[in-house]
Symmetry: C2
Subunit: 221 residues, 2 copies
DNA sequence: TGCTCCGTGTGACTTTGTCACTGAAGCAGC
DNA sequence: GCTGCTTCAGTGACAAAGTCACACGGAGCA
């Protein structure tokens, strides 16, 4: 990958003027982060704005009694909103970010970030659009957990997270942490799905047998 | 109230230069909204940025099956984030805003708003800080609904919403809609509180008898 | 081979949400 | 006053979801 052009990978940043692009590139520090690394967590403060060039980062919230829920994922071509929010408010993080795959990211120092927000309407629009879209994500999370049923949400996630062979490589605990529920609930509901012939469970993975049935179930009610 | 100085009531806007303050004031349309009026709702798009001079606006999310949850409230001296988000993304509203009291607000047209965001670092900081703080609110809502217990949340809300006489003037349905739960659940739990001698229920209102006990209960676990 | 850890299964119980229905409190209109 | 209507609250039965405790078995390793 040609590192000198990374802003072009971000919708909105490609329209920056060449001088501003150069400013972004020279100020940024390219970070390579291996899968599983915790990138930020509650109590820490961001050193700068993170632009995700490659990979995905999972942002999730934890409770004191061990439960966990995924708020959203940041993928290549996006910026990290939590970081933006913390930069703007000078607060520390409230959730945790973990590299789900190997990640390449550009870290732009706070000072440069603030300058660009000031000087460039395109940059500002990019940041604010990303910001606003993430708020929509949070609304959806709330809608799901308050009004949604767990069985439908599991079916939906299985379909989202399956690889090209229809296999989801996660433990039941992982799935529970995705949805903010408990492991036992996932085990029981997956067992129901198995009885329906929709899936074939294995240790640390689930094989989806009937995608259509799962999709129909997820869409019901 | 002296209307010519309303930006001074907003922390952050008082530091605007006099010319920009005048620009805000002349472009704004002062709106008086009576309690109970629906200000915006899903599907609509904002005509401009709303600055709340007096009163409170309740922003809540509704499900298709009749349940409801309050996301946050906007009070005097704050701006409406939903509106900001929609202005930035050119999306329509996803939640509903209702005037909880009589409201006086300044509506600044989108064009003026965008100009000010461009030209004034102070104005931009004000908007972004409000924005970011509201994200924090949403994180808290998620934390509560995913990890919290309903009885503790009710106790907490009763204390928040009580007037100076310790009376909360709401129906059980209203309280359920605050917390995103069902009316029957509220009825049952309030009955428990009554058995403990903490409250005295009445039609359309609850009288708090033992604030300390309620507070201790809300803080437990 | 035996040991330990981890992922999973399960039963019993609590909490929360849903449904259907009852009755009481307020509030017209007469 | 009385009559009917609406709104609010209470309740029982059940379903869904979360908690707790523990059992089982496979994977990996000494």
């Amino acid at each position: 990958m040609n590192m000198t052009s990374w802003p072009d990978r971000f919708i909105g940043l490609s329209r920056l003027s060449p001088p501003l692009k150069r400013k972004l590139e020279t100020a940024a520090r390219i970070r390579r982060i291996t899968a599983g690394t915790r990138i930020f967590g509650p109590g820490e403060t961001p050193a700068g704005m993170l632009f995700l060039i490659e990979g995905t980062v999972r942002v999730h919230q934890q409770s004191d009694n061990g439960r966990d829920i995924v708020l959203y994922r940041v993928t290549g071509g996006e910026s990290c909103v939590m970081t933006t929010a913390c930069l703007f408010t000078h607060h520390s993080y409230m959730a945790e970010g973990v590299a789900e795959t190997d990640v390449i990211a550009a870290e732009v120092p706070r000072r440069t970030f603030e300058d660009l927000v000031s000087d460039s309407p395109e940059f500002r629009d990019f940041v604010l659009a990303a910001y606003s879209h993430r708020i929509v994500d949070l609304f959806e999370v709330i809608d799901n957990v308050v009004f949604g049923r767990v069985d439908l949400r599991i079916a939906e996630r299985l379909l989202q997270l399956a690889d090209e062979n229809g296999v989801v490589s996660m433990t039941h605990q992982d799935m529970a942490d995705e949805l903010g529920t408990a492991r036992e609930v996932v085990s029981r509901l997956l067992n129901e799905f198995r009885k329906q012939g929709w899936i074939e469970p294995g240790r640390g993975q689930v094989k989806l047998l009937d995608l259509d049935a799962l999709a129909r179930f997820a869409a019901s009610r």
